[in-house]
Structures are given as C-alpha cells and as structure tokens.
C-alpha cells in the first residue's frame, strides 16, 4: 500500500497525548468524530493544522504519543485523515493504538527528521518499507510484521477473536490457574 500526501511538520519532541487531545474531550463512548479536537492541547496546534490543510502524514521528533493511554489520540488523528506518523521514537501505548487504527507509526533515525520535515510531501510505500521525499531522498524503515497486518486490515480484534478457542484450551490445561 502506498501512502502519499502532504506533511504536517510537528517540529517538537515529546508530543504527549494531552496535547493531541485534552482530557475534557474524552467524554464520549464512540471512536468517531474526534478530529475537531486534534492538537487543541498543543501550543500553536490549531494554527499549525490550519497552515497545512489536507496534510495526511505527520513528521515529528522523539517520544511521540507519550503519556496517557487514550486511544482518542489515534482516533482524532485518523478522523482528520492522518495515515502515518514518522518520528525517531514512539511511546509504547500510542504505538500500539496507531497500528490498531490504520495509522502507520514509522520509526526512522533522528538524523533523517530535518529533511523529512522540510519535504512538503512524502510517498510512503508500506510494502517496500520506504519513504521518498520530494527531493528524491529515500529512507528505509521496518514495520512489525504482525502489526502491519492489523494496520492494513484493521484486524486486531478479529485476530484475537480467532484465538478464543486456543486461549480457552491453554487456560484449561495450565497447572496453576490465576
């Protein structure tokens, strides 16, 4: 699958999930319609989004998505049409949530970030695991092979559902239940 689109340059480290979507917007029971709250907790976040209409790929710095486990962060990004976040590192829970919501969390070396931030558009090939900048520069990345399936098919819950019988059998067979 090819993701091709404009870059939203979020040129800062430690973008936490309170900045992505503040807690007072966590009052719903559905996963949809949260895009309007995206980055409202970030200083200058609303203006940044307005300056890059139609962007679908975020480039940011270290430790993206740190803090709260709120999947609302991934839901709000997906609702605004974001399909990938490129950063040198991610916080674990956001990383998992992104995969489960059709957002590719792409890890690249930190010395690649400056050039990626400067590229107005990026072309991301999820199969070949490469990013191509507007200037033709190319960056390779690796995705977790299993979670890549979840990313492409939205299949985390379906995958677990297929395991229920095996898990029950395992649980019944273990010597000391907990």
């Amino acid at each position: 699958m090819i993701l091709e689109g404009g870059v939203l340059p979020v040129d800062r480290a430690n973008v936490d999930t309170d900045q992505i979507i503040p807690a007072h917007y966590l009052t719903g029971i559905e996963t949809t319609g949260l895009g309007k709250h995206l980055f409202t907790g970030m200083t200058g976040g609303v203006e940044l989004l307005a300056a890059y209409p139609g962007a679908s790929i975020i480039v940011s710095r270290e430790n993206f998505g740190c803090g709260s486990s709120r999947e609302h962060a991934a839901w709000s990004l997906a609702d605004r049409g974001f399909r990938a976040v490129v950063a040198p590192s991610f916080a674990r829970i956001f990383f998992e949530n992104a995969y489960n919501n059709g957002i590719a969390p792409i890890v690249v070396p930190s010395d690649e970030i400056d050039a990626l931030l400067r590229s107005p558009n990026l072309r991301i090939d999820l199969d070949a695991e490469t990013i191509v900048r507007d200037d033709g520069g190319r960056v390779h990345f690796t995705l977790d092979p299993l979670r890549k399936q979840f990313l492409l098919s939205g299949g985390y819950m379906a995958f677990l559902a297929s395991k229920v019988a095996a898990v029950r059998a395992w649980d019944a067979a273990r010597a000391v239940p907990t």
Partner: protein
C-alpha cells in the same frame, strides 16, 4: 536458566509465540473504567455477539468523573454500569468507587504473578504487587475482554537496584521523580523496570504503588516490585482474596515470583537514596525536576521555560503558586493524606487547596482518623474520591497561566487546564507550599498553632 521476576510472570502467561518477537499473552484480570471501556465493549456487542471471555476476570469502576459532570459523562457511567450488570461483572460505582488504581488493590483484585490490563496508562501502579500490570488502549482492552489475551512485544527488562533509605523529608514520590530524572523522560521506553534492593523491601505497599505509578513517566512498559511479606500482609483479608488455608496456599505460590539470584537483565542501574531530598518539577515533563532548594537548570529547553514562565537560575522556592492539589493515583492513599495532614495540622493554607482521597474507602478511613477536620480546619477543600483536577477533566481546572503545586504524575502543557502550569511534588511538599503560598518544604514552616517545637 535463572529468571527475572518479569520473565517468570511472562513465561507463565505466553499462550503462543507470534511473528516479530510478539506473543499472545494470557490476561488474568481486566480493570475497566468508564472513559476507555465503552468503545471496546460496544465493538464486542456489535461485532462479536456481546461475548466476553470471562466476566469474572473483570471489575468495572466508574472512576474518572463520578458523579457525572454532564450528560456525556453520565452516559459513559451508565454504559459501563449497564454493561457490568448485564454480564454480572463486579462493579464499583458512586459511593463505593474511586480511582481504579486505588480501588483495585484495596479490594485485593491484583496479586503477585498475575497479568492485568486496563485502558489507562497508570495501570503500572499495580506492578507494586509483583504483577505484570499493563496500560493499554481501548481496542487492546477490548481484545483482552473478548479473548482473554493481548498481542504483546516482549519488553526488555531493566533491574533498578535501590540502596540506602528514605529520610530527610524524601518520600517514595521523590524516589519516583528521581528515577525518571535519572533515566530521562523516555529512558525506560521498551523496558519493564524491575525494582530490587533493600530500599524497596523497606517500602510499604502505598509507597511501592507511588513508585510503580510513575514508571510510565519514564516511558517504561510497566514497573514491578518483588512480592514479599509486606505484599502478602496487605492482601490478607481483602475482598477478592480467599481466606484461611486457601489464602496461605496462594502465598506459597506467590513466594516463587521472585528474581533468581543470577538472573540476567537487559540493563541495570543502581540508585542510592541516602542523599535524596524532596524534589519538585520545574518543566513540562516529569523528568524535569530538581531539589526543592534548587534552581531552574541552565540548558533547560526553551519551550518548557516559555510554557512555565521561567528562566534558568530562578529559585523554585521563589515561585508563588495559585493552587495546590493533593490527590491522584500517585498520592491519594491514606498514608499520603496522613503526610499532608501532619504538615497542615494547626496551620492555614494561603492559596486554594484541594484534597481528594483516592477512593471512598480511603476517604472513610481518613475521616475515622479526623484528617478531614485537619484539612478543613486549615481551609482546604475536602472532596469525594475521584481523579479530580489531575487531568483537567472535571473539577479544579486551572486558569491559563495559573501555577499549581500538585501531588500528581504529569506536568504536561495543558494537563490540568489550558495554559495551566503544574509543579509535581510529594504530598508533604504540596501541603507546605499551600501554607507558604509558594513552592516550599515542611522544614521551612515555623511551629504550628499549639505545636511545641523541639530544638
């Protein structure tokens, strides 16, 4: 092959190895709260015939906004309540509830050697019991409720040896902040922090929970403390535990969940806490803290300085505060409230101060000791249990630019309200600051009314 505590728990729960260093890991227990559970529960209802793996492995807790503040949060609570009743899931609702990370242990729902998941990043708190307790997203929590398992990448393990003892006003909160400052805000990413050493053995369960609570603030997958007699004594007689011989048999099994002497670790650090003194955060992540008598460091990030309205070299003690908050899953247990009350007894707060117990059970225990009178005599607001002002979701939201000293875990921009500035500290430092009207520590306070000062 010698094993770490983490490896013993992990190996006892791997159902199946999966591609890419992933594993299908059995989840013994799920804690479900009203903010992050409805989405997964509705998905299961709509697409998987409302079938749960085992309702007896779940407890539901209305915790973040209880009582509801508006129609939306009332619906969240109702969805959780109706879902729990429909499935026969144990529910702790208004009147018997509190913060899930406080309620679950006090009800004995977590125990050594188990795996536990919850759609909340501070689930790592429960690693204090020697459990592998994991904060996850709503989809993953839903998966655990549907299939009794999670897909997890096997984390690395870092042994954190802690030597010395807490004294000189230093608390478990200061140790937690010190660990984060040592590792860095993301220095624990990819690791389970397995605590070890005499200093950990000397901690109470409340203190171990405070320490493990902030493992996530170093980016860690979770924290874990070795279970011991302190752990077993805490759990004896709790609601979800058996009594008599059945309990003692469990204790014998729990004793096996300890690191083997020659266990190998992916990383190891040693921290001595003899010289540790009370810390306070100055910046916008929990790794940015200094001793309370310190200054904003040179080389501080410009973004943090601007947000906090600070410059390098400014003394923390010179900073006037607008609000103080004692509460949250980090520091809202009975021992935390006692520590704050010891500072506030006979004194008066000079800024608006909110004290929020972590659970209704903590609230009642505190009131039996008269702590509510201490707080209210000092002029503080004593509330029902909840997450409270910690995440700016319900009461106690900060005005833009307002400075709050807080016993919580996150000082992110906007965490307690848009533009609000948060300084993290222990309950005693928060209480002393509330009296002083600026950041400060208990040793700065003169004698309280009616108090005899021993020279």
């Amino acid at each position: 092959m010698p094993q770490s505590l983490f490896e013993k728990v992990w190996n006892a729960h791997v159902v199946e190895a999966l591609p890419g260093d992933n594993a299908l890991v059995f989840v013994d227990k799920v804690v479900a709260h009203e903010i992050t559970t409805p989405q997964g529960a509705l998905e299961i209802e709509r697409r998987y015939n409302d079938a749960l793996f085992d309702p007896n492995r779940i407890v539901a807790i209305n915790d973040h906004v209880s009582p509801a503040k508006d129609t939306e949060t009332a619906i969240q609570a109702k969805v959780l309540r109706d879902w729990a009743k429909r499935h026969g899931i144990v529910l702790y609702d208004m009147g018997q509830n509190g913060i899930c990370h406080v309620v679950a242990p006090e009800r004995g729902f977590v125990e050594p050697g188990m795996t536990l998941a919850c759609g909340d990043s501070h689930t790592c708190t429960l690693g204090a019991f020697g459990a592998f307790a994991l904060g996850v997203g709503s989809t993953a929590q839903g998966g655990a409720m549907l299939a009794g398992c999670l897909v997890l990448q096997r984390p690395k393990v870092m042994r954190v040896n802690v030597t010395g003892r807490l004294h000189g006003g230093a608390t478990a909160k200061d140790l937690a902040l010190h660990v984060i400052a040592t590792l860095g805000f993301k220095g624990g990413t990819g690791y389970v922090l397995e605590y070890a050493g005499d200093a950990i053995a000397a901690l109470s369960m409340d203190e171990r929970m405070t320490l493990c609570n902030m493992a996530i603030e170093a980016g860690a997958t979770t924290g874990m403390c070795p279970p011991d007699e302190t752990t077993f004594s805490y759990l004896r007689g709790r609601e979800h535990q058996p009594t008599g011989d059945a309990f003692e048999a469990k204790v014998e099994r729990w004793r096996t969940f300890t690191a083997d002497p020659d266990a190998a670790y992916d990383a190891e650090i040693t921290i001595d806490i003899d010289a540790l003194r009370p810390l306070v955060s100055w910046g916008t992540n929990p790794g940015e803290s200094v001793p309370i008598d310190g200054v904003v460091p040179a080389g501080a990030s410009r973004a943090s300085l601007d947000y906090m309205g600070l410059e390098p070299g400014v003394a923390l003690r010179s900073l006037a505060i607008d609000q103080a908050f004692i509460g949250s899953c980090t520091n809202s247990r009975l021992s935390d409230l006692r520590a704050a009350a010891d500072v506030l007894r006979g004194r008066t707060v000079t800024v608006p101060t909110i004290v929020t117990p972590g659970s209704q059970a903590v609230k009642r225990a505190a009131e039996r000791e008269g702590l509510h009178d201490v707080f209210q005599d000092a002029g503080a607001l004593w509330t029902h249990s909840s997450c409270g002002p910690c995440l700016g979701m319900s009461m106690g939201v900060l005005a833009p630019g307002a400075r709050c000293v807080s016993s919580t875990n996150r000082n992110f921009p906007g965490r307690m309200g848009a533009g609000g500035r948060v300084h993290l500290a222990s309950p005693a430092v928060v209480a002393a600051s509330a009296v002083l009207g600026r950041l400060g520590s208990p040793d700065e306070l003169g004698a309280a009314v009616g108090e005899t000062v021993n020279a």
